[in-house]
């Protein structure tokens, strides 16, 4: 009734290839953008700092991993390592280059390129190694990067504790100070920056999938020998996928450290985080960009929600260890159940819902 193709007439080829072909979609996108840009920054600081910004950062890493694992079919457990490169890259760019040259958004992008290059180096073995064996390469990246930043304290400016706080004036990269009563060093401008980066890169990813490059990625995933027979350079495609994916992870890492946590700390980029990101990807659905976001939101919010519900029902009768263990159990069972019921993840559920909406109210 609401969601119909009816009345959307395509009159030329450009319109046929639009990213949002339906009028309803366009309206929803505009409304969504208005909501994200105008309403969300006015919600509480807690909401932004503890929920929205971390989801934006981690979700971007999931999109990055999706390009590599979901679309090009190269299994990776090194996402946290590449995020780490991004975070430390941003830190060093901001620290070592003069202030007039470097601002936070630029540093984030450049360190994303660093991370991409590191990704290409560790992606080189992918030319020969396939399947689960490729885990060894990305895990080597994960452990090596971690060890590297742990041993060479130059990169953390010889800080003995290994943690450096981000000076708040970095957030006010245009030097505005106070604009219409909004503190430029506060969370709302940080959120706007994160959101802009995320929307830009998500749009890029979404478009990438519809381009020749994206189709090459997919053909390498589906059958790499067939792809090479068709004249696609498999090594080049794989390395490009590694670069783009790790670029996303790097930017996400910079965002995570700078916009969310507010300090550069190696400890948050251990291998567990790589697994969390892979979880988000699988739960969201491999190969689907919107699924990546759904997965990121779910996995990030689940433990928080679970603890909260537990608190409300049992009123803190159990200690945190018990809650964490039960949360782990429920979570594990949920993942297995989801994989059994809907291996396509949330993206598949979303597609089903869309289809149902299209048919409603006559389901046949």
């Amino acid at each position: 009734m609401i969601y119909r193709e009816t009345g959307n007439f395509v009159t030329d080829y450009m319109r046929d290839r639009e990213i949002f072909p339906m009028k309803f979609d366009k309206i929803m996108v505009v409304l969504g953008l208005l909501f994200l840009y105008l309403y969300v920054p006015t919600t509480s600081e807690y909401m932004l700092s503890a929920h929205v910004i971390p989801i934006l950062a981690v979700g971007l890493a999931v999109v990055g991993l999706n390009i590599l694992t979901g679309i090009t079919g190269q299994l990776s457990l090194g996402s946290a390592g590449f995020m780490c490169v991004g975070a430390f890259g941003t830190f060093n760019l901001m620290l070592r280059l003069p202030e007039w040259l470097m601002s936070l958004p630029v540093a984030l992008m450049i360190s994303g390129i660093f991370a991409g290059l590191v990704g290409v180096i560790f992606g080189l073995p992918a030319i020969r190694i396939k399947g689960f064996y490729l885990l060894v390469s990305t895990l080597a990246a994960q452990y090596f990067v971690w060890w590297f930043f742990n041993s060479f304290t130059y990169f953390i400016n010889y800080e003995a504790s290994g943690v450096v706080a981000v000076p708040p004036k970095m957030y006010d990269y245009w030097g505005i100070g106070n604009f219409l009563g909004i503190d430029m060093q506060g969370y709302s401008p940080r959120y706007i920056l994160a959101l802009t980066i995320v929307i830009g890169l998500t749009y890029f990813a979404k478009n990438l999938l519809r381009s020749t490059t994206g189709r090459n990625f997919m053909s390498v995933r589906d059958r790499d020998i067939a792809a090479s027979v068709m004249g696609i350079s498999v090594p080049k495609t794989k390395l490009l996928a590694f670069f783009i994916s790790c670029f996303y992870c790097g930017v996400a890492g910079g965002m995570y450290s700078f916009l969310y946590i507010g300090n550069v700390d190696l400890m948050i980029y251990e291998v567990d985080r790589s697994f969390t990101i892979l979880f988000m990807l699988i739960i969201g659905g491999l190969g689907s960009i919107s699924g990546s976001w759904l997965g990121a939101i779910f996995v990030y919010e689940f433990p928080i929600l679970f603890t909260w519900v537990g608190d409300v029902i049992f009123g803190g009768a159990f200690n945190t260890a018990v809650v964490e263990n039960v949360s782990n159990m429920v979570y594990g069972v949920f993942i297995i159940a989801l994989l059994i019921r809907e291996p396509g993840g949330f993206a598949a559920l979303w597609a089903t819902t869309k289809q149902k909406l299209r048919m409603w109210p006559y389901p046949h």
């Binding site: 694992t69 299994l75 073995p125 020969r128 190694i129 396939k130 399947g131 689960f132 064996y133 885990l135 060894v136 390469s137 895990l139 080597a140 452990y143 090596f144 971690w146 060890w147 742990n150 041993s151 060479f152 059958r223 020998i225 067939a226 027979v229 291998v271 697994f275 892979l278 979880f279 699988i282 491999l286 260890a321 018990v322 964490e324 263990n325 039960v326 949360s327 782990n328 159990m329 429920v330 979570y331 594990g332 069972v333 949920f334 993942i335 297995i336 994989l339 059994i340 291996p343």
Partner: protein, 311 residues
């Protein structure tokens, strides 16, 4: 002073011993991968669960053999349950989905084992239960037997190697000489063909998971004696990963030799390269680098099956 050969030998032996520990974890991996093509990430938490079950029972006054027996029983039940409630509904799915399911299983097991037992760190001292000379804490002074070899050998490491060795012999016998072993090998060769000649796939999988559970118990106890029973046991899985990848995912001898290679290489790397690399703890990634170098030249691992690709 020339090159310290004796020290080198000591390092080598130490590496071999820790390699044995890796192999023990790796065997569990390989068994599951061979029989069902699943990369079982839950191996580490199975170690934790098995050894925690055992330790908690002995702490509550159950004697060694009974506790061992009950823990093995629990692992068998667990293995059968995994087959029934996880593997069977997931049959014929994408390998990545199956891998993620085992990660889900690991998460579940991590919570479960610490929920029903506890998340404290438990020490395990087997010499309290077993009156074996080999479980003495005093090391062997090899110099007393071979005058020119002035090194120490921890007795426990020898014990661990013996246990690992006998486990491998038992497994080899089980695989090569029993009828169940034959069907396991058939299934690992080709699921469809095995089913076509009437091998019950589900029973075979249940057996494999149960056997893996028992191996996890043995490996868990040995690891626990070396370190302790705690959360860190889960990380054994990350140690075992390069081992199976070097050895080839489908080969039990590969798992053992891979374990030894990684164990020795790690120790040598740490001692002779560690300082040159300007930092401690290169063990962490060195194993992965070795595996990587190895795989670039032989993508299917040492004894893995060669890939045959068709379009």
């Amino acid at each position: 002073m020339g090159f310290d050969w004796v020290y080198l030998i000591e390092v080598l032996l130490g590496g071999l011993m820790s390699g044995v520990m890796y192999s023990l974890v790796a065997i569990g991996f390989v068994l599951i991968y061979k029989s069902s093509g699943i990369f079982n990430f839950a191996q580490g938490t199975m170690l934790l669960f098995a050894s925690l079950t055992f330790v908690k029972m002995t702490e509550n006054g159950i004697d060694f053999w009974t506790a061992l027996f009950i823990a093995a029983g629990v692992m068998v039940i667990f293995g059968v349950a995994i087959e029934r409630y996880m593997m069977r509904p997931l049959a014929n799915q994408d390998l990545l989905a199956l891998f993620m399911a085992t990660v889900g299983l690991a998460t579940f097991q991590e919570g479960f084992s610490q929920f029903i037992w506890d998340s404290d760190i438990h020490g395990l001292q087997m010499n309290k239960f077993l009156d074996l000379q080999l479980l003495d804490s005093a090391p062997i002074f090899v110099v007393e037997h071979i005058p020119w070899l002035d090194i120490l050998l921890p007795k426990f490491d020898i014990f661990a190697s013996l246990v690992a060795g006998s486990l491998i012999v038992v497994l080899a016998f089980f695989f090569q000489k029993t009828k169940t072993g034959l069907s396991l090998r058939a299934v690992s060769d080709d699921h469809m063909a095995a089913m076509a000649v009437g091998i019950p796939l589900q029973t075979v999988w249940a057996i494999v998971w149960a056997v893996t559970g028992i191996i996890a118990l043995v490996a868990g106890l040995l690891w626990a004696e070396r370190v302790s029973v705690s959360f860190t046991l889960i990380e054994a899985v990350m140690k075992a990963l390069p081992v199976i990848l070097i050895g080839g995912l489908t080969s039990i001898p590969g798992a053992i030799i891979g374990g030894l290679v990684i164990g020795v290489g790690e120790k040598l790397g740490e001692i002779y390269l560690g300082d040159a690399m300007g930092g401690q703890g290169i063990e962490l990634w060195f194993a992965y680098f070795m595996a990587l170098m190895f795989l670039v030249f032989r993508p299917q691992g040492m004894f893995g099956e060669k890939f045959i690709e068709r379009v």
